[in-house]
């Protein structure tokens, strides 16, 4: 019997609730998906994935998620920095607005972005003379994913920036380091773990994003058709195995990427020591 001595009782109840909750919400659906994959066998699985259309949808989903998360990494860091380090009127309002993508139904975000960036929308009309079309192209997909991923980076980096000891930066400056060097050698190393975590969360969130993207993507097979939409299309064809195959592929790739990011975290921590 597993016993961990703790001054507070309730380990059994807590563990039971944890197992029940986790099983119902996470483990059972994933096991069903894996079971479907095992039932069809690796050959059939590969067969479902080998079509150019599936491959291009998977490539699009992961490419767009990577681009959007990379953008959020830079933009989110800047936003978090400004929000924590400076005091200006309206700061709290902007700070609250960062959470909106969490709260807003993603379909609403998708429709709003499409309305703004469609050829007859305010931004769409302004960008048209420059030859840039956002809605119904891959750029539209990036935009939607930037929207849903932004709060993840900001909210993971913000508390860390808040805790950075400003004296370290001042010491670095008095010791003759340039601003760029202070940023590179003093500030960024401290922020790296939280930046990576934020990046990983934003990436994981945007790879599977469906609601906002289908409104702004053109949904053309091989061009702007994302993998989650292809899963829905397979279900409409009653092709449950085909849908499960794409789901498994997404699960596998996402899991590997998160693993890679975690490994980078560990490596990074060893390199610069615990921060």
């Amino acid at each position: 019997m597993l016993r961990i001595s703790s001054p507070l009782p309730g380990f059994g109840l807590g563990m039971g609730l944890l197992l029940a909750g986790l099983s119902l919400v996470v483990l059972l659906p994933l096991a069903a998906l894996l079971g479907e994959g095992i039932a069809m066998g690796p050959a059939a699985l590969a067969g479902h994935l080998a079509s150019p259309r599936v491959l291009s949808a998977l490539a699009l989903s992961f490419r767009a998620a990577l681009i959007a998360s990379a953008f959020n990494l830079v933009f989110g860091l800047a936003l978090a920095w400004v929000l924590t380090r400076y005091r200006f009127p309206g700061r709290r309002l902007i700070d609250a607005a960062v959470d909106l993508p969490f709260a807003l139904p993603t379909a609403v975000a998708g429709i709003a972005l499409t309305a703004l960036y469609a050829p007859n929308g305010i931004f769409g009309q302004a960008l048209a003379p420059l030859g840039i079309t956002v809605a119904y192209t891959e750029i539209g997909i990036w935009l939607a994913l930037v929207f849903v991923g932004l709060p993840f980076v900001v909210r993971t980096v913000q508390p860390v920036i808040d805790e950075i000891d400003r004296e370290c930066e001042e010491a670095s400056a008095t010791l003759g380091a340039s601003r760029a060097r202070t940023l590179r050698r003093v500030v960024l190393p401290v922020l790296t773990p939280s930046l990576l975590t934020g990046f990983a969360l934003a990436l994981a969130r945007s790879v599977g994003e469906f609601g906002s993207v289908i409104f702004i993507a053109g949904n053309l097979p091989g061009k702007t058709e994302i993998a989650p939409l292809l899963i829905v299309i397979r279900l409409e064809e009653y092709d449950y195995a085909g849908a499960a195959a794409i789901g498994l592929a997404m699960l596998g790739i996402s899991f590997s990427m998160l693993l890679l990011i975690n490994a980078t975290q560990v490596w990074n921590r060893r390199r610069i020591g615990h921060v």
């Binding site: 059994g12 109840l13 039971g16 197992l19 259309r53 309305a115 097979p221 058709e225 299309i233 397979r234």
Partner: protein, 340 residues
């Protein structure tokens, strides 16, 4: 200690799961209820029809009945019924979706379509073009859709029932235009989809893309959706263009035998579907821009709205059982068009 058993994770897990099972509610049926599972563009029609039916039903001396509606993409609605949504009545966009319910579950027998008149389609529609006011691109027929610089809006036939009718209407015209040459029909469809900049997942989404977002020059639409768009957004924004050939779209209805719980419920469900064919309900369908069969109670305005045109039918394609896999199945003609 009284709560000692809670220390054991397995016991606690079992208790939590049992508690979850114990609170499963059991509802008592106070009155007869019907759930009608339908597709997107019928919202307005069934809202009006349910009122008409319940009034008539109570006037016949029956107990009151509560009718609940559910709307969504036709294919997704069919899947919900297969997965256990307890609909007593389904009213979907095409027969193949009801066929799918019959094939993939045991709630419906496969001869459902013979049980009501007109292939179980109390109202029909067709596919027309909605163009911008004044028809600036001069679109008159299917051939003009693949003209230089013309953009066509249609939803994805994989996810939208209406889009399948669009696709087959285009195919029907192309076959007629080329004296039955299937290769040329395929070429035409390939060309046509090169002119499609956005594939929405449903008919309502495509209407929004065209009407609200200003994308595209032509919308391939259900005739009833096109009239509705004119009625709701003003007829000075769009024009309807009727092509030389289109398709007779038959959205069918069926009683879902396996979800009937009592004789009372069966009686109401049966009456609900049969009353759709009554002169009053047919007039209501005509007023909601559907082509209905019985015009005896309809106003002249509702009858004269519909132009005559040559219509191919789904039977020309060998019925949905043949057309569905051939055109829209995995690796079917629609997939081949995008693979080229």
């Amino acid at each position: 200690m009284t709560l000692a058993f809670l220390r054991n994770p397995a016991t606690a897990l079992a208790i939590v799961l049992a508690a979850g099972g114990a609170v499963t509610p059991t509802f008592a049926l106070a009155e007869t209820r019907l759930l009608n599972v339908s597709y997107d563009p019928t919202r307005e029609f069934y809202r009006a029809y349910n009122e008409l039916f319940t009034q008539w039903w109570e006037a016949q001396g029956h107990d009151p009945v509560t009718i609940e509606q559910s709307h969504g993409g036709s294919g997704a609605q069919a899947r919900a019924v297969i997965d256990g949504l307890e609909a007593q009545v389904v009213t979907l966009a095409l027969a193949s979706d009801i066929d799918a319910i019959a094939q993939r579950s045991d709630v419906l027998s496969s001869d459902w379509q013979a049980k009501l008149p007109h292939n179980s389609a109390p109202y029909t529609s067709t596919i027309v073009f909605l163009v911008r006011e004044g028809n600036p691109k001069g679109i008159k027929d299917w051939q003009d859709l693949i003209g230089e610089g013309v953009q066509v809006i249609t939803p994805n036939p994989k996810t939208s029932g209406g889009a399948r009718w669009n696709f087959l209407a285009a195919w029907g015209w192309a076959l007629k235009a080329s004296q039955g040459d299937e290769d040329r029909a395929r070429d035409y469809l390939t060309q046509l989809f090169k002119h499609v900049p956005v594939l929405d997942t449903g008919a309502r989404g495509a209407t929004t893309t065209f009407a609200k977002r200003g994308v595209g020059d032509v919308l391939l639409a259900w005739e009833n959706e096109a009239f509705l768009a004119l009625a709701e957004m003003g007829d000075d924004a769009f024009d309807i263009v009727v092509p030389s050939v289109s398709i007779l779209a038959e959205p069918p209805v069926a009683l879902v035998e396996g979800n009937i719980e009592s004789d009372d419920q069966r009686e109401v469900a049966q009456a609900y579907l049969e009353y759709l064919y009554s002169p009053e309900a047919q007039a209501l369908a005509l007023a909601h821009y559907y082509r209905a069969w019985d015009k005896s109670r309809a106003t002249d305005e509702d009858i004269e709205r519909f132009p005559d045109l040559e219509l191919v039918t789904i039977a020309d394609f060998g019925g949905w059982a043949e057309a569905q896999p051939r055109f829209f199945g995995d690796g079917g003609i629609f997939d081949q068009i995008y693979a080229d």
